[in-house]
Amino acid sequence: MLLIDCPYCGPRAEIEFAYGGEAHIVRPAADVSEAEWEAFLYLRDNTKGVLAERWRHSHGCGRFFNALRDTRTDRFLAFYEIGTPRPETGEAA
């Protein structure tokens, strides 16, 4: 069970959180092309390595936040607030 460091509450067990999928997926305006909308809906990187992803502390403060996690090791490299840019980690995405 992952140990997740909620930026608002501190470290809590994974069981308190809901996973929110890949982060930094920009929702396009309603006048984009079909291909762009399809990409927004369905295309994800499926990263083997450092992935920016969303979590919600659903059984805690209720806040969404972002995390950088290495999908090979499950190690978290950073936790950061929604709306802030992906932190530099020196590791390739």
Binding site: L3, P28, G62, R63, F64, T73, D74, I82
Partner: protein, 997 residues
């Protein structure tokens, strides 16, 4: 002492405490401290079970948790547990154990005929044979396989015990309480770190439990262990757990332990859990799992009386049991010489030590030679003789280049084998640590770790006792962040073993190895493994699945390395090029009860009760589960079945009035200056123009354009909406709202609050609803003119604050009275009393469904399946054409979302009004189409309508709205297809006159 093979004055059993138990009905005597295996061995009995596939007679090959053969059933009734390892089951008075997989008896087993068929049952036999003819599978093959497969039997009564779950945090978790683990725990404990030390055995000591030779600080090994445990017990920051296996290593150092609390007790306290799962979050983990001796692979190596050399040493020193009178030792490792010396000293005759190595040497070999034990260098075992017990070993010389000479038989009743020691990598591997092959030791060792974990002692290839202790201290200090640790002087010890062997032993001539077992528990032979490789399986993972080697509950503890070596030899590739199969949890089997813990029966899932649950129970309602909610389904009167009760409830609502507990509706309050803008963006509908005091049916889509949820929304104030959701969708809708609000629309000033539990909802529906309600609402004018359909008023009812919605899910004049849950029952009672004179009738969810289906109202999740647009379900009217954006807008404009042949919601009438369709039925174009064919649609809802006096159904049909009046067919499993006609989905009062009354 009882047991002719018991040696007085030896072992750690308590001779002053005799214990009697039953095995296969026979009374067996042993002593406190015995296991079932040691007590049976003390009587000279090795035969304890039959094997999985061939029903071969089997005895214990080990003395611990790695046992693949001696699997027994223990306990009676609901406490019966199958497949326990006799080598671990501690005896107590009254214990009842049985052997498994034999019929009619352990000594004579019909299934053993399978052995004769062994040449016909090669690897992949089932895959190859049972594929054809197809029809044979159900009638012939599967019943046969089911009867033959599986070990033991499942208990037939509910488990009367309870099981506990405990979360714990520590600085250092030490898994394994042998010399390395004890040293690590003490080193960390003295630093003040919070330490948990666990061991699967009944007492700490690990390999030292079977070591009568070594001396530490002048003490015998077990006296030193006692001193260590005593000091650890005095440290308040150290927790010691015996009978506790670390069986699962999860991410971020979350390690699961399984502690067995009562199985070893004759009279356990009634309130004590049988087992406890510990979920330990450890800052650092030290693995001190030790190493397991490898079996040798030769013809007949599974006969009872053939065991690991180290096991015989454990039975001697821990249980005071000699495993035989005359032993042949076959080894490729020095450690077996110590076993031979110990047994000889205890009076067991050592017929010979056959050493696979050409020139065995070293102090242990010299000591054996000095004792007069016959040592045969460069000698292998060709086969074992005997059936229910080994009677002899055929030993043969191995010449230059591996050529095996002619063998000769040596009589014995015990064969001890040692292929060297395999470090236990399971937990390190579960933690996704890398493995590396060590050429010098010929085994895999832990490589780079991912978690905060380090291995110490034999599990990382450190075998000499003094080095093991230093390694344990170093690991403990590193984990606790210290520099100075305890030191001990090992004053006597054996040099670590050299050599070792893996794979099938060399043979004379073209032996087929059909009964040379690699995996005892799954009955996988060397021949099976070789065959798999010859048939083209190159990956060790594929060989594992094809042959099932290493897939038994022992997790390949004794077999993986031998299987790997065989594959390596056949392919001519080095073991490290082939790799090991993935180790999977659990390290040892864990009972289902322990996993379930308290989550069983009523505790399995929270039960949510709506406020009128007690009223409904008192009325004799029949209930149904809706998610976690328990809801009244119908209220039968004496003599009524469900159909009669539901029909009566429906008629009451249509002719007078019905009362219904709708409190399970999800409710969310959306408030704030930007509440209307939020609603505009979230729902497909437009909200800006919805006046205060007005309601609107709202529809939620995902950004994929597919319907997600629906519900009536009321505007309480300019900046406040009372949102309702489906019963099942409440949590999901709130999460989705929060998602968009927090991550997409940070510009909006809106607050979202779940009020599902705060507002109870009393639905009052029917032509006389207003007449009943009007006198109850305090000073509120609810006349048709003042409060038309789809409006809401705030007020009070008998002094209780109220949000009154005039809405209907029945098609009748109706109200939904929202009151605080704590006062809802009182309000319900007042309405109920007021309605008595008007024929007010309680109705349940079943009538609610019928009434809504008569009106063609969809239920999200019943008519929709996650691929339906608002237009598909006839709600295109709800979608705003003018809003610049809302969730789903772009997707709804995609051509595919507007294709004319999409499934569309329609009504369906069977040509025979009394025929009932079944929900889920497919609808096809013609009465007789040869299968396979594609469906034109499917039935989503089907009821008998009391109002229409006939069956009605809703369905999703391709281009359905353009096919009104046309016919389709519903194929039936048991009869001719039913002819149906597509109609408008609103069956009753299509003008809505009653609704607006």
């Amino acid at each position: 002492m009882s047991g002719v093979f018991r040696l007085a004055g030896r072992g750690r059993i308590d001779p002053s405490r005799p214990v009697a138990f039953r095995f296969d009905g026979r009374l067996i005597r042993g002593y406190a401290g015995d296991t079932v295996a040691s007590a049976l061995l003390a009587e000279g009995r090795h035969l304890m079970g039959r094997s999985f596939k061939y029903h071969r007679p089997r005895g214990p090959v080990s003395a611990g948790s790695d046992e693949p053969n001696a699997l027994i059933g223990v306990g009676e009734g609901g406490r019966y547990t199958p497949n326990l390892r006799a080598t671990q089951v501690e005896i107590h008075d009254g214990l009842v154990a049985v052997s498994q997989n034999r019929a009619p008896s352990l000594r004579f087993d019909i299934g053993a005929l399978n052995t004769l068929a062994a040449p016909l049952l090669p690897a992949g036999f089932y895959y190859k044979t049972f594929m054809w003819p197809r029809g044979f599978w159900d009638k012939v093959y599967e019943p046969l396989i089911r009867r033959a497969a599986g070990l033991g039997r499942a208990p037939e009564a509910p488990d009367p015990d309870h099981y506990a779950l405990h979360y714990a945090h520590c600085d250092v978790l030490v898994a394994g309480g042998g010399p390395a683990g004890l040293a690590a725990a003490l080193a960390a404990g003295r630093m003040g770190a919070r330490v948990i030390l666990c061991d699967e055995n009944a007492e700490f000591g690990g390999s030292l439990l079977a070591d009568a030779y070594s001396r530490i600080d002048g003490l015998t090994a077990m006296d030193w262990v006692a001193r260590m445990v005593a000091e650890l017990e005095r440290l308040p920051n150290v927790q010691l757990l015996t009978r506790c296996s670390a069986f699962h290593y999860g991410p971020h150092n979350m390690v699961a332990l399984n502690q067995r609390l009562t199985d070893h007790l004759a009279m356990p306290p009634a309130d004590m859990p049988r087992e406890r799962i510990w979920q330990v979050r450890a800052r650092e983990v030290v693995l001190a799992a030790g190493a397991l001796e490898r079996a040798l692979v030769f013809e007949g190596n599974d006969r009872p009386g053939i065991m690991l050399a180290s096991a015989a040493r454990t039975y001697l020193h821990r249980y005071g049991v000699a495993c035989g009178r005359k032993a042949v030792v076959v080894t490729a490792d020095d450690a077996a010489y110590r076993v031979a010396l110990d047994l000889a000293e205890a009076g067991v005759k050592i017929a010979a030590i056959a050493d696979l190595r050409p020139v065995p040497g070293g102090t242990l070999v010299e000591a054996a030679r000095a004792r007069g034990i016959r040592i045969l260098p460069a000698t292998t075992i060709q086969r074992a003789h005997g059936h229910l017990r080994v009677t002899g070993a055929e030993l043969a010389p191995v010449g230059e280049g591996g050529a095996v000479g002619k063998g000769r038989a040596v009589a014995c009743d015990l064969v001890l084998m040692s292929g060297g020691f395999t470090p236990s990598l399971h937990l390190h591997s579960q933690a996704r640590g890398a493995l590396r092959f060590d050429d010098a030791l010929g085994v895999y060792l832990p490589g780079e770790a991912i978690e905060r974990v380090r291995s110490a002692g034999a599990c990382r290839g450190v075998f000499a006792l003094d080095a093991v202790l230093r390694d344990g201290v170093a690991a403990g200090l590193a984990a606790a962040g210290g520099e100075n640790g305890p030191e001990w002087r090992v004053t006597r010890q054996d040099a670590p073993g050299t050599g070792g062997f893996a794979g099938a032993l060399p043979r004379r001539g073209p032996g087929h190895l059909a009964l040379a077992f690699v995996d005892f528990q799954n009955d996988v032979t060397a021949k099976d493994v070789k065959l798999a490789v010859r048939e083209g399986f190159r990956s060790i993972e594929h060989v594992k699945r094809y042959t099932t080697t290493g897939m038994a509950t022992d997790q390949g503890k004794g077999s993986n390395v031998n299987a790997l070596a065989i594959v390596s030899n056949v392919l001519g590739r080095r073991p490290e090029e082939i790799g090991l199969t993935t180790y999977r949890p659990p390290y040892t089997p864990v009972t289902f009860g322990a996993f379930a813990g308290h989550a069983r029966g009523d505790q399995f899932d929270p039960l949510r009760l709506p406020p009128m649950d007690g009223w409904a129970r008192a009325r004799g309602a029949v209930f149904e589960d809706v998610g976690q909610w328990r809801r009244a389904r119908y209220f039968p009167r004496a003599g009524e079945d469900m159909a009669a009760a539901v029909a009566r409830e429906c008629r009451a609502v249509r002719s007078a009035a019905g009362i219904f507990d709708a409190s399970t509706l999800g409710k969310i309050e959306v408030a704030g200056p930007d509440a209307a803008e939020f609603m505009n963006r979230f729902y497909v509908n437009a909200w800006t123009k919805l006046g205060v005091g007005k309601c609107r049916y709202g529809l939620v889509c995902r950004d994929s354009g597919f319907v997600y949820d629906d519900g009536v929304v009321g505007r309480i104030a300019a900046d406040r909406f009372h949102v309702t959701t489906t019963t099942g969708g409440a949590a999901g809708v709130l999460n989705m709202m929060e998602d968009y609000l927090q991550t997409e629309w940070a510009d909006l000033d809106v607050w979202l609050t779940s009020v599902t539990e705060q507002w109870a909802v009393i639905a009052l529906q029917g032509p006389r609803a207003r007449e009943i309600l009007a006198p109850l609402v305090d000073g509120l004018d609810i006349s048709a003119a003042s409060m038309p359909h789809m409006t809401l008023r705030e007020g009070s009812i008998g002094g209780v604050p109220m949000r009154l919605f005039r809405v209907s899910f029945t098609g009748e004049l109706g109200y939904e009275i929202n009151v605080p849950s704590g006062q809802a029952r009182a309000v319900w009672d007042r309405v109920w009393q007021a309605g008595a004179a008007c024929g007010l009738t309680p109705y349940g969810t079943e009538a609610m469904h019928v009434l809504r289906a008569e009106k063609g109202y969809l239920i999200v999740g019943q008519e929709t399946d996650g691929t339906m647009t608002p237009g598909d379900v006839g709600c295109g009217w709800a979608v705003s054409k003018v809003k610049p954006d809302f969730i789903g807008k772009r997707a709804l404009a995609l051509p595919a979302m507007n294709a004319p042949d999409r499934l569309q919601m329609v009504g369906v009438l069977t040509d025979d009004p009394l025929s009932m369709l079944e929900e889920g039925m497919q609808l096809v174009a013609a009465a007789h189409i040869p299968a396979p064919t594609s469906a034109e649609g499917h039935v989503t809802s089907s009821y008998f309508s009391p109002a229409l006096g006939r069956s009605i159904a809703l369905a999703m049909v391709k281009g359905g709205r353009g096919r009104m009046g046309t016919g389709l067919y519903a194929p039936c499993l048991d009869g001719p297809p039913l002819k149906v006609t597509l109609v408008d989905p609103v069956f009753y009062d299509p003008e809505g006159a009653r609704l607006n009354g």
